[in-house]
């Protein structure tokens, strides 16, 4: 009996230990589960940051870091493209070559810059500059490239929906040569041509023709008022908007002080207005 009485409590004690261990493991599991949920739920600030870093750091390889977490889907995209089909007048290219410009192996493409304002349906705005074309400027082999030509090109832009409107605000073209304004001076019955001013290579804003009240062209400038870049309103999600520029960069040449240089007479307002050439812009939406 004594043995039984001794054995019985022993059995009871074993059961209690097992039950206690089971309870403990449930508690540990519960705490661990709460910890995991807290970690996943962004309550990591309650833990030691060093510990969190060991657990939650994204896998880092020698070639890239790709966290396992994901972002929300984009609501859709709208792509805006600048297609630069402009070309240089061969006479201008020949002149550039004589100044030591580095024309490269392929035919250089004129550099154009289109400032575009994007308005979103929620009222947000972003302004960007689409840039396309070569880094070409007169005497570039000796003179170096000006900073405005070393800006990185941006030939397209992809925004997320909902975009309400896309407005091309202005189109600029880089004129890679110095334009000389010449005046005719008469001194004691001797007529000479003298340099009045010089405009260095720079971006110039392309201008639409000047028209009268009836729409007749009074001054021919850089593009027809019907062939300019136009605003795109009510952009549907998923659309592609393309601005295609075409035309030829041309500057008139004039003789002054024994040399032929790009330029015009100060009285030749038509030549001044038409520089640096004639262009067309086509706006596509699809």
């Amino acid at each position: 009996m004594a043995k039984q009485s001794e054995a019985a409590p022993r059995r009871i004690s074993t059961r209690t230990a097992a039950a206690n261990g089971y309870r403990m493991s449930r508690v540990v599991a519960l705490v661990a589960a709460i910890g995991v949920i807290a970690l996943a739920g962004g309550c990591s600030s309650i833990f030691n940051p060093s510990f969190i870093n060991q657990v939650a750091a994204p896998p880092t390889g020698t070639t890239g870091t790709i966290p396992a977490i994901t972002l929300n889907n984009a609501p859709g995209h709208v792509a805006i493209l600048l297609i630069n089909n402009t070309r240089f007048d061969p006479l201008l290219l020949d002149f550039l070559e004589t100044t030591g410009a580095d024309l490269g192996d392929t035919e250089p493409i004129p550099r154009i810059r289109v400032r575009v304002n994007i308005t979103y349906a929620n009222g947000s705005e972003n302004t960007l500059e689409l840039i396309s074309g070569s880094e070409i400027v007169e005497g570039s082999l000796t003179g170096g490239t000006p900073p405005e030509l070393t800006e990185f090109p941006l030939t397209n832009f992809v925004g997320v929906c909902d975009i309400a409107s896309v407005t091309p605000e202005q189109v600029e073209l880089y004129v890679p040569v110095t334009r000389t304004t010449v005046q005719i001076v008469e001194t004691q019955n001797v007529i000479t041509r003298e340099v009045l001013s010089e405009a260095p290579p720079a971006f110039v804003v392309l201008q639409p023709d000047t028209v009268d009240d009836n729409g007749n062209v009074t001054v021919v400038r850089n593009f027809d008022i019907r062939k300019g870049p136009v605003l795109v309103n009510g952009v549907r999600c998923g659309s592609v908007i393309g601005f295609t520029a075409s035309g030829t960069v041309q500057v008139p040449f004039i003789q002054v002080q024994g040399a032929t240089v790009p330029g015009f007479l100060d009285t030749d307002t038509a030549a001044q207005a038409a520089t640096p050439g004639r262009f067309e812009f086509l706006t596509n939406v699809r």
Binding site: P58, T60, G61, T62, T63, G64, T65, I66, P67, T70, L71, N72, N73, A74, P75, G76, H77, V78, A79, L81, I83, N85, T106, I118, Y120, A121, N122, S124, E125, N126, T127, L128, E129, E151, F152, P153, L154, N156, F157, V158, G159, V160, C161, D162, I163, R236, C237, G238, S239, V240, G242, T244, L282, N284, R286
Partner: protein, 212 residues
């Protein structure tokens, strides 16, 4: 209350009957796309031969992203050898909702993508500009501290979308941290019901651009 419930159910049934269960016809397709991704393409996919690189500004200040891609181009001088060509763009992302997400399409093939002009120096070369005023204007240049993604290491492939997200954090230069994400084009359905933006972009380029 019962009448209101009946009207609601009838309205829902009516909408479903007229639109064939296509939620994007009566809900904002952009909203539907955010939950299902089936209305508009999320990745360019193989057929457009682009990769899309997006910068997402999740901070409260303007951020400028300096995105660079590298391509391996066969040398004209020594056939069989390759040289690395780089292409960089600057994208300005204001903190406002929607406008904070900016992207650029790059022609395939691309071997590496990252932030900063020199992809070999992600810890020292500025890749984002915190508090920038405009493209190329102002801002504190901050190294991204994110390694470039490599096609050779299967981090991405042609047709994928790569996203660099900048968010605010403490105890870092500029108070920001950058993370990179990849949307695998092969794991996302290409059967979209809306416009296929990237294929349309490719076809527009092919139709309009003069041959080089």
């Amino acid at each position: 209350m019962n009448r209101l419930a009946c009207i609601f159910v009838l309205l829902a049934v009516g909408l479903l009957a007229t639109t064939g269960c296509n939620t994007s016809q009566f809900l904002n397709p952009a909203l539907v796309n955010q939950s299902t991704g089936e209305v508009f393409a999320l990745t360019p996919g193989d057929r457009s031969s682009f990769i899309l690189v997006r910068g997402n500004n999740a901070t409260t200040v303007p951020i400028e992203f300096l995105i660079t891609v590298e391509r391996q181009v066969e040398s004209a001088d020594v056939p069989g050898t390759f040289t690395t060509q780089t292409e960089s763009v600057r994208l300005f992302a204001p903190p406002n909702n929607r406008a904070n997400d900016v992207g650029e399409l790059f022609d395939c093939p691309v071997s590496r993508v990252g932030l900063g002009e020199d992809l070999d120096r992600p810890t020292t070369e500025p890749g984002i500009f915190v508090n920038a005023q405009a493209v190329g204007v102002g801002g504190l240049g901050v190294p991204p501290n994110v390694n470039p993604l490599s096609a050779d290491a299967d981090n991405f492939k042609c047709g994928d979308t790569i996203i660099f997200q900048v968010s605010e954090t403490n105890n870092t230069v500029g108070g920001v941290v950058v993370q990179s994400y990849v949307l695998d084009s092969t794991r996302i359905s290409t059967n979209v019901t809306g416009f296929d933006t990237f294929v349309n972009a490719r076809s527009l380029l092919e139709e309009q651009q003069f041959a080089e």
